[in-house]
Point group: D2
Chain length 144, copies 4
Amino acid sequence: MPPAELLAYGRKVLAAQPFSVLLGTEMAALSPDMTELRLALRPELLQQHGFAHGGLVSYLADNALTIAGGITLSGQIVTAEMKINYVRPAVGEALVARASVVAAWRTQAVVRCDVFAIADGSERLCAAAQGTIAAVPPRETGKE
Amino acid sequence: MPPAELLAYGRKVLAAQPFSVLLGTEMAALSPDMTELRLALRPELLQQHGFAHGGLVSYLADNALTIAGGITLSGQIVTAEMKINYVRPAVGEALVARASVVAAWRTQAVVRCDVFAIADGSERLCAAAQGTIAAVPPRETGKE
Amino acid sequence: MPPAELLAYGRKVLAAQPFSVLLGTEMAALSPDMTELRLALRPELLQQHGFAHGGLVSYLADNALTIAGGITLSGQIVTAEMKINYVRPAVGEALVARASVVAAWRTQAVVRCDVFAIADGSERLCAAAQGTIAAVPPRETGKE
Amino acid sequence: MPPAELLAYGRKVLAAQPFSVLLGTEMAALSPDMTELRLALRPELLQQHGFAHGGLVSYLADNALTIAGGITLSGQIVTAEMKINYVRPAVGEALVARASVVAAWRTQAVVRCDVFAIADGSERLCAAAQGTIAAVPPRETGKE
């Protein structure tokens, strides 16, 4: 897929997720090598100490991992599992998640993602994630 | 803390998280042995196939893990890391997350959480999570 | 499979793993609900502080997870991923790992495992693990 | 610490772990940026299909993560948790694990590690890991 088409495809996927629309997630960049999501922080996305809620950070990582795996595997996919380490409070104007496939084969892709908080124009790593995206196997007729 | 006070405390923590208020998370039960969060599913919390977004499921697990660890440890806490396996599409009227501390010591608690989707009154496991909640060490004056 | 046959099958699998023979892992119990491995601790299995090496604990958890998933799924399987929290130093005469399937479908099983250290006849939890066992998809002729 | 001293220190740590001596793990390189462990594969380290046992791969990742975190944090440390994705069968003459710290603060370091299998002189990624190394807090007299 040409770069511009791939980006348009990614934006369409995101626009079709009501939850991502509610949160305001944007597809900043999309290529076979890197998926970049961006989410502007606003008061209702924070927790009680004024940081982005950890669950918001894990949502963004999960979504970047899934899209990165999805453009690598063909057909329908699901996120099988994810692990995330929160390394710093996520404080700033926006979150950026960047995900890249580490290894992929016919049925699964293993993907890593870093989430950064952007404050005053500079990025600071706030979480590191790793997960598995799985191709949904076609159902064999008459078996299930 | 008496049971009713603990539950009231948990609800206060949740009400102080703007992101949990946005999503509509409720504290269904809270005891030293179990934290139960409930979240009614509505269209804007779903993804493109009509299931609860995986990032919503991970948010709910993260929050239940954190609260369960927080009532076990004293003082200020942070969620250090979390791992989640998505085992079934989360379809139904509501999600319920139940978290219990597996082991805790002075500085950390390891917690497990199961997330269920409720459909037609019956529960089905949709995700299994495990994570670490860490006490924030008091800063030693003059050291940092 | 009758219980005695299942246990015999599990012991055969373990005996076929040269690494498990080197370490001395024993199949203590095996049923569709629970896989229990036991490993006597001896000096060469320890690290520099006299505890069982963390890598030994993760080996035992990995193996129990894999066997529990393997008797649930049919055909050839692989361990796709695993997460382990070390909650206490593993000190004592032996380690015991107990694994149970949390959820399984045609292609994958999600399994949890607790590892205990046995000292003076009593058990103490030293690690909590969770992982995914995947069925190896049959290769489609002419496709790869 | 000068590079040669750091490498000598790392080799001493490894030599003090009886389990690592049993398996034959070598410290191939050690710097503040990268820890590299190497382990020659021999028949008794394999599983039933002739691949390196997954538990051996997780041991090597665990050990590389721990050493990388340990040279970054000061004082006594423990491995708090680890996650590993097995991405290819580990087949070849040796395994190499390379670990680098992603983020560190006073009490914890988050570290990533890739494990490669070496066959016919070329490396292939066989596992990707991520974990947390924690500083053991000094015990406060009279409190516990």
